[in-house]
C-alpha cells in the first residue's frame, strides 16, 4: 500500500496552487501519483512529464525568467539525479526553485532499494546549502497503520547568497 492518500495529496496540491504555482514537472513516482494526476486534470496547471529529472530544473528556470511560478514534483532519487542542474543552473543564476521531494528510504519504507538514497538525502541537501522543511502528515488510514509521509519543501530562493528574484 502506498503511504500517500488522495486526501493528503489534495492538501499539498491546493497549497501549491494557492501559492501561485501554475507549472509542474514530474516523473512517475508512487508517492506522487495523486499529485501528478491532480496536476494533469487541472486545466489551470501545465504538467510537464519529464524523461530525465534534471530537465525539470531547466524548465522551472525558464518559467521563472518568464514570470511563472513552478514546482518540481520529484522523488529524493530524482533530486540526487539533478544535482548539477540545481547547482549550475538554479543556484549559479540565483533562480528560485521549489522542489517537493518524496522522502523515500525513511521509516516505513518497504522497498529495500530506496534506503541507500534515503540515507544520504538530507546530507546532500545540507551540502548544497538548500534550506528544507520536513512536512509530516497523517491521514485517517495511516492511524491504523502508522506510517509517516514526509516531504521536503525546498525554496532555494531562501539561500542567503541569492538575490531576490520574486
Amino acid at each position: 500500500m502506498s503511504p500517500v492518500s488522495n486526501a493528503s495529496s489534495r492538501i499539498v496540491y491546493d497549497a501549491l496552487k494557492a501559492s501561485g504555482v501554475r507549472l509542474m514537472s514530474a516523473l512517475p513516482e508512487t508517492w506522487l501519483v495523486h499529485l501528478i494526476r491532480m496536476a494533469e486534470e487541472d486545466p489551470e496547471m501545465t504538467l510537464v512529464r519529464l524523461a530525465k529529472e534534471e530537465e525539470g530544473v531547466g524548465i522551472s528556470a525558464g518559467a521563472h525568467l518568464a514570470g511563472v511560478k513552478s514546482a518540481r514534483l520529484i522523488q529524493n532519487h530524482g533530486f540526487l539525479a539533478s544535482v548539477n542542474g540545481i547547482v549550475s543552473c538554479a543556484q549559479l543564476y540565483r533562480i528560485p526553485l521549489l522542489m517537493l521531494i518524496s522522502y523515500r528510504g525513511e521509516f516505513g519504507e518497504r522497498d529495500p532499494w530506496q534506503t541507500e538514497g534515503g540515507g544520504v538525502t538530507e546530507d546532500v541537501l545540507r551540502a548544497l546549502r538548500i534550506p528544507s522543511r520536513p512536512s509530516i502528515a497523517r491521514t485517517r488510514s495511516h492511524r491504523a497503520s502508522p506510517r509517516l509521509r514526509r516531504w521536503r519543501c525546498l525554496p532555494t530562493s531562501r539561500l542567503p547568497c541569492c538575490s531576490a528574484g520574486t
Binding site: 525568467l65 518568464a66 528574484g165
Partner: protein, 101 residues
C-alpha cells in the same frame, strides 16, 4: 561553414526571437556579433538549454511551432576565450526583464 559564419547568417532572424544558447563557444561567438537583451547564454549548466527554452515557451503560452531547437554541424575554430564581458547575473536579469516586458 565556420560556426561564427553560421551564427552571422542567422543573426538578423534572431532579432525578435527569444534565444537560449548552450555554453561555451556558441555563447562567446554570438556575443561577439552583438549582444541583445533577448539573448540568454546558459553557461555551465550542460544539457539544460533546451529545457529552459521549453519552460519559457510554456510560461509564455507560446505555441509548439514557436519553439525551435537549432542543431548545426559546423567546422569549429574556437574563440580565443570563453569568458565574456557580460556577467552571468547581468545577462540573467536583463533577459528576465526582456521576457516579462
Amino acid at each position: 561553414m565556420k560556426r561564427l559564419e553560421a551564427l552571422t547568417a542567422i543573426y538578423d532572424r534572431l532579432s525578435d526571437r527569444i534565444v537560449v544558447t548552450i555554453m561555451g563557444a556558441v555563447a562567446a561567438e554570438l556575443q561577439s556579433i552583438g549582444h541583445r537583451p533577448n539573448f540568454f547564454y546558459l553557461q555551465h549548466a550542460m544539457g539544460l538549454a533546451s529545457s529552459m527554452g521549453l519552460g519559457i515557451t510554456l510560461a509564455k503560452a507560446l505555441g509548439a511551432g514557436d519553439l525551435t531547437t537549432i542543431v548545426a554541424k559546423v567546422e569549429a575554430v574556437g574563440p580565443s576565450g570563453y569568458v565574456t564581458d557580460l556577467s552571468l547575473l547581468e545577462n540573467r536579469f536583463q533577459f528576465a526583464r526582456s521576457l516579462r516586458s
